[in-house]
Each structure stands twice: as C-alpha cells, then as structure tokens.
C-alpha cells in the first residue's frame, strides 16, 4: 500500500516537474534591441511573423515550397536594408495539414514566440479552426492561403484577410467563359465536397442559373475514384465539364474520361490546373492535358520574359538555392511582395492596428493580373482572373482578364495594364 502511494506520488511529482521544466525552458527572449512600444514581435531591428504550412504529409507536395519561397523573398528584402530598418524574420511551422496540429502550432507562434502577425496560413480546414483564437488575441491574420470566402468577413473577423481569388469569383469567371464560348452546350460540374467545391458551384450557378447545369457531382479527397461521377457525365451527354478539383483529382478526372472514351471540354479551377503538377501526375498520359482550359491571377512560370518572373527567378536563384521554379514559388513570393508593400505603407511606427489599417487602405499593385481589393468592407484579395489554356504542352494566357465580386455583380473585363516591378525589385507602398 505504501509503495503504491510512493509510486503514484512520484508519477504526479514527475509530471508536474516535466510541465514546469517545459515552462521554464520557454523564457528565452529573442536577441535584438528592446521592443519599441510593446508591440509583440516588433523591435527596432526585427519583425517576427509566423505561418502554418504542410511541410510533411500527403498535402505537402508542392505546397511545402510556398513558405520557403516567401522567406527567400524576405531575405532578399532584408539584404537590401529591410523595411523601415527592420528585418523580417519568417517562422514556418509544420502542421501536416492536420487541423489539430494547426491549433497547437498557431498557439505556439502567438503565445510562445509572440509573433507580430500570422501570414499566409495554408488550408481551409486547418485555418478555419484558428480564426477565433487569432481574433481573441487580436493577431493580424493576413493573406490566408485558400480561396474560401470565410476570410472575407470584416465584421466577424476584423483582422483576417484573404489573398487569392476566391472560389466563387473564380466559378463566375469560369462559367462566364463557358457561357460565351460554348453557348448551347450541355454543362456539368464536379466539385470537392467542402467549401472549395460548394463556393465554386455557387459562383458557376450565379452565371449559368440554378438550372444551367445538366449534372452536379462531388468527390472526397479520401476516396481516389471518380469513375461513377465521370460515368454519370457521359451518360447525361455533358459536353463541357467544370472542375473544382485539387490537382490529383483533375488528373484522375482526365484519365477516367479517357478510359471511358469520353471527350468533353474540361474547364478547371486554378487550384487544380497547374500544368507542371498535372503532367507529373499523369506521366506518359500527359497528352490528355492538351486543350485544358483554366484561369489564373498571377503570372505563369512559362512566361520567362515577364519582368515579375525574371525578378522572382533571380531571388529564387540567389536566396532559395535555385529550387525547381514553379507556380508555388511565384505564389509564395507574390504573398511576400504584398506583405512588404503593406509593411512599407504601415510606416515606421508599426503596430497591429497600423498594419490592419494599411491593408484596408488598399490600392496595392503587384504581380497579379487582376485588382487586389482591400478596404474596410472587403477583405477578399484578388478579385479576378485571366483564362489560360494548354497548347503544345505549354500553358499560356488568352483573352482579357476578368473581374467580378462574389455576389451578383457582373463579370467585367479588367483592362488596366499589368504593373511593372520596381527596377531594384524592392516593393514600395
């Protein structure tokens, strides 16, 4: 009996000691000068920013390159004097695309590392879970890496901002192209069974009408088979199929249709339309991608003469060890470019409030092909896209860029010329 007591007591003591030890370890402050006005993560010489990304696990393919690319761009800016004399320190945490991990790593960033802001946290299911936490702690939550409409709720989440063209806007633009180009043809839709597919479908139906689709199907990521869905499209005689799919399921849809001797015109979301990714997935069958129509809001890596691509490639070579240049690198660097612009605009006396105010001031022009729309009432980000297609194994833009909103507004041509990067490549506000 005595020994049980000792044993239990010891176990308790040990677990308390362990927790206390862990707490004691955590006291270390980052080196550097004193904080200016008690703004978390900001000193006279440094700004600490954090993110959560899938660096490991099934979702990490491709996405794991985004944050290092952003970091490389920050290193480029830091090497040229930083922003208002401060260097940007970007802390990347791996959440493996598991919402439970996201909870932990974001708390660690905010409460332990005391980051100034969260930048470009990736994923709808992962980031949705930390919205309330970030709001409660008044942490700016900039440029979430997902096209869900959830990020654009200024009343509910005043500190959260989206970045990429949201899925509804994209759905409207894709449907607009379908309506104009394939008038009178039977149109069908395949979407992922979550916000991505649902928001996209909402956009498509805003243009084609609630009865404009001959068939609507969904898939789930955990079941890698779209045979029944594609079979149904074939049986119903769909001539155009709009896909709100991730790359793996775009490839699967193209492959399944080919196996069924079924050749509709596929029109795909920017999420699952990257040629490089698709051709890697399809391997020898990559000929199936020929003629695939999609849309995008940033320059393509195939545009080697584009000044933005030249800039990003230079930064990639010098600060990112020249890793394989693709859409993920462009994405990461575009996010970093916009963030530096916002920091410039927020001025020398950087606070969380001044950062939010700077984003809401809006008017930022960068590498994108569509307007970036930030205001007090709009936290959405890019508001349009330009159509792309694959010809001879090369993905390229065609036609004008379009802009629209995620409500009932019309899809309009966006005619403003694409901005040029500054000569030295350093963002200004």
């Amino acid at each position: 009996m005595y020994s049980t007591l000792v044993r239990r007591g010891l176990a308790l003591f040990a677990s308390v000691a362990l927790a206390a030890g862990a707490a004691a370890c955590s006291g270390g402050d980052s080196p550097g000068s004193k904080p200016k006005a008690d703004v978390p993560g900001v000193t006279d010489t440094e700004i600490l920013v954090g993110t959560h990304m899938p660096l490991t696990g099934p979702a990490s393919a491709g996405y794991s390159k985004i944050a290092p690319a952003s970091k490389a761009f920050f290193d480029f800016v830091n090497a040229n004097g930083g922003v208002h004399g401060r260097k940007i320190n970007y802390k990347i945490m791996d959440d493996g695309y598991n919402p439970a991990n996201t909870q932990t790593v974001v708390r660690q960033l905010v409460q332990q590392d005391k980051v100034f802001a969260i930048l470009n946290g990736l994923g709808t299911p992962t980031h949705t879970g930390v919205l309330d936490f970030l709001k409660t702690n008044k942490v700016p939550d900039l440029f979430v890496a997902s096209g869900s409409r959830s990020w654009n709720q200024p009343d509910k989440y005043p500190g959260t901002f989206g970045f990429q063209t949201n899925y509804t806007v994209e759905g409207k633009i894709l449907a607009n192209h379908v309506k104009n180009t394939y008038a009178g043809k039977k149109v069908c839709f395949l979407g992922q069974n979550d916000d991505f597919g649902r928001d996209s479908l909402a956009g498509v139906e805003k243009i084609l009408g609630a009865t404009g689709l001959a068939d609507k199907q969904t898939y789930v990521v955990t079941t890698p088979n779209v045979g029944p869905q594609i079979g149904s499209f074939k049986a119903k005689g769909c001539e155009v199929v709009i896909l709100a799919t991730v790359p793996g399921f775009t490839a699967l849809s193209l492959g399944t249709a080919a196996r069924l001797q079924y050749k509709p015109q596929f029109v795909v979301s920017s999420v699952g339309g990257d040629y490089n990714t698709l051709s890697r997935q399809l391997g020898e069958a990559k000929g199936l991608i020929e003629g695939l129509v999609g849309a995008f809001y940033l320059p393509l890596y195939t545009q080697v003469d584009d000044p933005w691509i030249k800039l990003f490639q230079k930064v990639n070579t010098e600060y990112n060890k020249g890793v394989d240049f693709d859409g993920n690198i462009i994405y990461g660097m575009s996010v970093a470019y916009l963030f530096v612009q916002v920091l410039q605009a927020a001025g020398k006396d950087l606070t969380r409030e001044s950062l939010i105010a700077a984003v809401e001031k809006g008017g930022y022009v960068g590498p994108g092909l569509a307007p970036v729309r930030y205001s007090k009432t709009d936290h959405s980000g890019y508001g349009g896209e330009r159509m792309i297609t694959v010809t001879g194994g090369v993905q390229s833009f065609f036609g004008p860029a379009y802009e629209t909103d995620d409500g009932d507004g019309p899809v309009k041509e966006y005619s403003a010329a694409q901005a040029q990067p500054p000569a030295n490549g350093l963002p200004t506000s």
Binding site: P99, R107, P125
Partner: protein, 337 residues
C-alpha cells in the same frame, strides 16, 4: 471486504484531491501556451488511461481508440452546435454535451467490444483498425451532418471572467483526466480489475474460477471506450474544431505508442505517455531549430527532422527501458513492485 475497500477509496480520493490542488496551482504559474499543452495532455490522458487498462490489464489490443475519441468529439461538437442553434445557452450546457459524448462512445464501444470479445490477436487488431479507418468514410457519406473532410467547428461559451481561455481549458481537461484516473484506479483495485487480469493471464483458468470471459472483455472495452469518448470530447472543446484528419489512424497508433512507452498497464505510465505525446514533438522541434543547417538541407529537413528525432527517442526508450518509463522509474527507486 468493506473494511478493505473504504481505505482504498479514501486514499484514491485524497490522492486525486492533492493532485487536483497541485495542478490547479500550476495553471496559475504557466504561460498560456503551456496551459494549452497541459490541457492537451489531460485530454490524451483520458484516452490513454482507458487504453492502458484495456491493453495492459485485460490483454485486448485496440487500434481504434482514436476513432472512439472521434465519436466523443463529434457528439460534443454536434450537441454544442445544436444547443446553440436552439438558443439553449449557459456554461452548464457543455457538461451535458460532454456527458452525451461519453454515453454515445459507450454505446459504440459496447458494439465494438461485443465483436472484439470473439476475436484474439491479429484479428482483434484488424477489427479495431477497421473502426479507425471507417471514421473518414462515415463523415463523407453523411457529409450533411459531419461536413466531410472539412469537419465541424465547436460552439463555445466564453470562459468565466476570472479565468483566461487557456486556464479554463486546462481546468476542464485536467478535471476530466483526474475523474477518469480516479474511477479507473478504483476499478483496477476492485473485483473487476482482478477479473480483467485473470482473463488476460489465462482464459481457461479464469473460466474455471467462474469468470464470464466474454462479459469481462466487453466490460473492459466499454470502460475503456468511455475514457476515450471523454478525451475526444475534451479535445474537441479545447481545439474548438473536429475533423477526420485530427482523429486518424495516426492518433490511434500514437495513443498505443504512448501507453507502451509510458509503461503498459500502469496508470502512471499513461501519464508519462500522454505528456510525451504532447511535449516530445515540441522538444524535437526546438532541438532541430538549434542545429544550424545549410539552407538546402534545411529546406529538405524542415518539418521532417522533428519526426526523425521523435522516432529515434521512442526507439531509444524501448531499448533502454522495455518496461516503459514507469518500469524504469520503478527500477530506479529500488526494485519495489
């Protein structure tokens, strides 16, 4: 019998009270993030304590405890959201939801337990493995209710004014963990506990002694499921979200790993294991940050290095202390049983 049991009960009560007070004091000294980690340890402990009784004392291996946690978590999420929609508000509602979560998990645990009691060894592992895998399929098929892979968010009332969010989470989780530990400690020392062990050691001998094997096994599974259900419910509350990927097979394997590394069959071992599950990845991450690597190597190792350190530590623990951490502790304090 009665005279013998009263002191046990009192002793466990006293112990729980002391532990409760110590942990209560601890939540005031810890930083918010450490309190969150403490809460996570509490949530895992509810499940690992049950699992160590099932696997260590009753000899039934379960790869499905992550899924049982998911049952508790989804029930709590659905109840909380339904109560909020029906405008039934107030702090007490949460305890009703948690109670319903435990009840639902008990029912599911009973069903799985009935099947499990007929199976042995790898077949048992197979059935519980299937339970783990089926969760994401269920959330997909009834996606209107469970919202597929994206999962649900959990409606929560703000914590009482005198507590921070993290302190409240820690109190809730530790309270639940202490309750589970207290109840299980009593079960282990009771007639049921002795029957669990008898069945584990020799089924024929146990049957000759008049023990109903199947009923004992089902009971052990159900008790263990209740712990997992409460743990899952608590985890849903402290993370304010549930999704299939948070309760995948990996979680089930981690729970099993925790009880084995902590020391199979011992409640103290479950404490070690749960603490390790939460703190080791964190420590590994910190350790990997201390290493200065070339950018190219860093790019490749980022995220992977903590996993490698985690794995290596586990291998070392298993080699150095096959009886788990609690076995090592017992050896160190002088060969007491």
């Amino acid at each position: 019998m009665t005279t013998d049991r009263m002191p046990t009960l009192l002793r466990h009560l006293g112990f729980a009270a002391v532990a409760g007070l110590a942990l209560f004091a601890l939540t005031y000294t810890l930083e918010p993030f450490r309190n969150f980690q403490l809460a996570t340890i509490g949530a895992y402990l509810c499940a690992t304590a049950g699992l160590t009784v099932l696997t260590g004392l009753n000899g039934q291996l379960s790869l499905g405890h992550g899924a049982l946690m998911a049952v508790g978590a989804y029930t709590v999420a659905l109840c909380q959201n339904a109560f909020a929609d029906a405008n039934i508000l107030g702090g007490e509602v949460l305890y009703v939801s948690l109670g319903l979560g435990v009840l639902t998990t008990i029912v599911v645990g009973l069903i799985v337990g009935l099947a499990a009691a007929r199976l042995r060894g790898p077949y048992l592992a197979g059935v519980t493995l299937a339970v783990s895998v089926v969760i994401s399929a269920v959330t997909t098929i009834w996606s209107d209710v469970f919202n597929s892979d994206q999962g649900l968010s959990v409606y929560l009332e703000p914590p009482p004014d005198y507590l921070t969010m993290e302190q409240w989470q820690a109190w809730l989780a530790l309270g639940a963990a202490l309750l589970v530990m207290f109840l299980l400690a009593n079960v282990i020392r009771s007639r049921f506990g002795r029957q669990f062990r008898a069945v584990r050691d020799d089924e024929v001998a146990a049957r000759l002694a008049g023990i109903n094997i199947a009923r004992t096994q089902v009971l052990a599974f159900t008790v263990s499921a209740a712990g997992a259900g409460l743990g899952g419910g608590i985890l849903a509350v402290i993370t304010q979200a549930v999704s299939p990927s948070a309760y995948s097979l990996v979680l089930s394997l981690n729970l099993l790993l925790a009880v084995v590394v902590g020391g199979l069959g011992s409640l103290a071992g479950a404490v070690w294991g749960s603490a390790l599950l939460v703190l080791l990845p964190d420590l590994a991450h910190t350790a990997s940050e201390q290493l200065s690597l070339s950018p190219a190597a860093a790019l490749r190792l980022e995220g992977n290095l903590p996993l490698a350190i985690f794995g290596l530590t586990l291998i070392v623990v298993m080699i150095a202390a096959p009886g788990g951490i609690q076995g090592l502790v017992r050896r160190l304090i002088g060969g007491r049983r």
